[in-house]
């Protein structure tokens, strides 16, 4: 097994599926000749040709709709949004068209929407957002957010093979920063299955995406101080693996929910509500959330760092829950 980056894992998963299934196509802005803004599809045009690797006009609504139409005709399109922020331009086609078609007509809509998301690299208000909660509110959409190269490849392969529209949010800040051994052969990470990334008995940290790494760092630090955290990586937000975090919370009696997206209306509120409804008796402390401030993503480093959840903020919140 080779050690590869999160970015290369996405690229590898996509390439493998295109080799395996000729119905898989990719479309988006600057993905063919240029290989994509982040180079996920570098070399794809040469290998698969212009029929399957399509440079589109700047028209997210247009190519998202076209992907849905191609899916009606039996293709399995993978749409790349140059940045997840731009998925807003295609919102209608995703939430009103793709998401509701199976419920209305029983017509599968196997389209993957890849959105390079997340902050921490000074992208400003339009190149930093975490839009998962826009979509977890919509029945009929699956939403996944991998934290590791292994999961990035396995979830992408699962998303492409899924007969439903899948919002696949890949964190830009993890692209070249996170590496691990990834099998070169075919495997999937099932959608809707969380993973316990670290076991512990004192506090459950429920998280996903980039915050998995910050949470693991906090768990390491707290371990040195004598407290053992269990870190649950949701991996999929819709469908949601409720049992994974409920089982953990029933064991530890304490829950901290961490995500990089904004606090209010963020997915952490849903997790907290489920814990309150279904594991209330097990709780020894209030369910607590750590998330980004409710402000647009600012540009300057001093401002963005103040806005995003950081290891320090998670650590402080974790201590408060442990000491409640």
């Amino acid at each position: 097994m080779a050690v590869i980056t999160y970015l290369d894992a996405i690229s590898q998963g996509l390439r493998d599926e295109m080799r395996r299934d000729e119905n898989v196509i990719v479309l988006g802005e600057d993905i063919a000749v240029f290989g994509g803004a982040f180079k996920v599809t570098r070399g794809f045009l040469e290998e698969f040709g212009a029929d399957r690797v399509i440079d589109t006009p700047i028209s997210e609504s247009g190519f998202t709709g076209a992907a849905c139409g191609a899916a009606v005709e039996g293709l399995r399109p993978v749409v790349e949004f140059q940045f997840a922020d731009f998925i807003a331009c295609a919102f209608d086609q995703i939430v009103n068209y793709a998401a509701k078609n199976y419920y209305r007509w029983g017509i599968p809509m196997p389209v993957v929407f890849r959105g390079p998301s997340g902050g921490g690299f000074r992208g400003g208000p339009y190149h930093s957002q975490n839009p998962e909660a826009w979509f977890t509110h919509v029945p009929g959409l699956k939403v996944v957010q991998p934290a590791t190269p292994y999961d990035a490849k396995g979830l992408l392969v699962a998303a492409i093979r899924d007969n439903n529209p899948v919002i696949y949010l890949e964190h830009k800040h993890l692209y070249r920063r996170i590496k691990e051994e990834v099998p070169e052969d075919d495997y999937v990470v099932p959608i809707g299955v969380a993973e316990v990334k670290r076991e512990g008995s004192d506090l459950t940290i429920v998280t996903y995406g980039a915050m998995v790494h910050e949470s693991l760092a906090v768990a390491e630090r707290l371990s040195r101080e004598g407290a053992e955290c269990e870190v649950v990586d949701l991996r999929s937000l819709s469908p949601l693996d409720r049992d994974a975090f409920l089982t953990s919370v029933r064991k530890t009696g304490r829950a901290l929910v961490v995500h990089e997206a904004h606090l209010t209306g963020g997915f952490g509120g849903e997790v907290a509500a489920i814990i309150a409804e279904q594991a209330f008796d097990a709780l020894d402390a209030p369910v607590t959330r750590v998330a980004a401030l409710d402000v647009p993503s600012p540009f300057a480093a001093q401002l963005e760092d103040a806005m995003l959840p950081t290891e320090e903020k998670i650590y402080t919140a974790a201590r408060d829950v442990l000491e409640y």
Binding site: I25, D51, R52, I54, T56, P57, S59, S61, G62, F63, T64, G65, A66, A67, C68, G69, A70, A71, V72, E73, G74, L75, P77, D92, Q93, N96, Y97, K100, N101, Y102, Y103, R104, W105, G106, I107, P108, M109, P110, P139, G140, K142, D162, N163, N164, P239
Partner: protein, 365 residues
């Protein structure tokens, strides 16, 4: 680029084809008349959206397609669905929110699809957000091309719908990719209550196509053969790899947006002028004048159409509503969903025993 109108594909229509066109337009109107009765009886759930005065353009444009081409109709394109063989009962069950409707009571009126696994007409259902179907049907054309099928995708857009961003993005995408798409742009004078003059500063709706560098033409939308000719020319270009076209049809919505609309904003002189141009009455007169059919022939078709519409409505009325415990089934693919749309052939096609055109898989390059 305005397109050449040199060819007249309607010259090749047989007598049966011409009578079939009449039958489809008549049946479309009869279904809607029957729906209007059901609406007044409170049996239609929600609104009723008539295509009165526009039946001719829906029927004649879809008639230019081959049997297994793809069409995406909007709420006023019942005629297109009837041409492609959607059984009228399906439409009645949709309007009455029956559990056996194509959407099992989940969506309304013409918001349904028929996507056969192999062969037969493809009907892609609409959503209420106008314009969205243009990129979707461009994508159907893209998918078909990739799979080696010479399929043509046709969809409709009203004057109001052409103002949307989705319309523009879809047209532009189809143009740069040279996709086999035909868009019928209907100038029916009002988008709900808003007149065309407040939708666009263009003189003619087909001029929208100038922005995409694709062929376009404007036809009298209440002249069924003119609509057929323009649509057929566009379909042939699409099938032979020459990319998308836009056909503008000049027509008139003779009712309000829906039956509950009091039409107070509509111009009375305009309605009167268009009443004299009713597409079915004009085509009827044409068939008699050209001695293709006698009044008696057409009266027989009228009776047959009316009886069929009524029988289909009665069948649909007897269908059960959906069971409440089915509400959560099928949000995600994998749950069982039994398609209930039945494809039927008109008496004229049954008589011939063949589809009216060669199937898409055999035509074209």
């Amino acid at each position: 680029m305005p397109t050449s109108t040199a060819t007249r594909p309607s010259d090749d229509l047989t007598r049966d084809d011409r009578l079939e066109l009449y039958y489809f337009a008549r049946l479309t109107r009869d279904i809607e008349e029957r729906l209007a009765v059901l609406y007044r009886q409170n049996k239609v759930v929600g609104g009723l959206y008539r295509s009165l005065g526009q039946e001719g353009e829906s029927v004649a444009s879809a008639y230019a397609l081959a049997e297994d081409d793809a069409v995406a109709a909007l709420i006023r394109n019942l005629g297109s669905l009837i041409v492609q063989g959607i059984r009228p009962r399906a439409v009645f069950t949709q309007y009455m929110a029956k559990g056996t409707s194509p959407t099992r009571g989940r969506d309304l009126n013409l918001h349904f699809s028929h996507i056969p696994d192999a062969g037969g007409p493809i009907v892609v259902g609409p959503i209420s957000m106008l314009g969205d179907l243009v990129p979707v049907m461009a994508g159907v054309g893209l998918g078909a091309r990739m799979r080696g099928r010479a399929l043509v995708a046709m969809t409709y857009i009203g004057d109001g719908g052409t103002s949307t961003g989705a319309f523009h993005e879809g047209m532009n995408f189809a143009a740069v990719q040279k996709l086999p798409l035909v868009v019928i742009a209907e100038d029916n004078k009002y988008a709900y209550s808003t007149p065309v003059s407040q939708q666009m500063a263009l003189a003619r709706i087909d001029q929208r196509a100038e922005a995409y560098g694709i062929p376009h033409e404007m036809v009298d939308g209440n002249d069924m053969l003119a609509v057929y000719d323009a649509s057929r020319r566009a379909v042939e270009r699409a099938r032979h790899g020459d990319g998308p076209s836009l056909v503008g049809v000049d027509t008139m919505r003779m009712r309000g947006h829906a039956e509950h609309d009091d039409m107070r904003y509509m111009s009375k002189p305009l309605l009167d002028a268009w009443k004299a141009r009713d597409p079915i009455a004009r085509y009827h007169a044409h068939l008699v004048e050209t001695e293709i059919a006698t009044e008696t022939d057409l009266a027989e078709i009228d009776a047959m159409s009316r009886a069929y519409a009524e029988a289909e409505a009665d069948l649909a009325e007897a269908e059960p509503p959906p069971e409440p415990d089915t509400v959560a089934a099928g949000v995600f693919a994998g749950d069982h969903f039994q398609p209930t749309v039945e494809i039927v052939y008109s008496p004229f096609r049954e008589k011939r025993g063949t589809p009216r055109h060669a199937p898409a898989s055999e035509a074209g390059s």
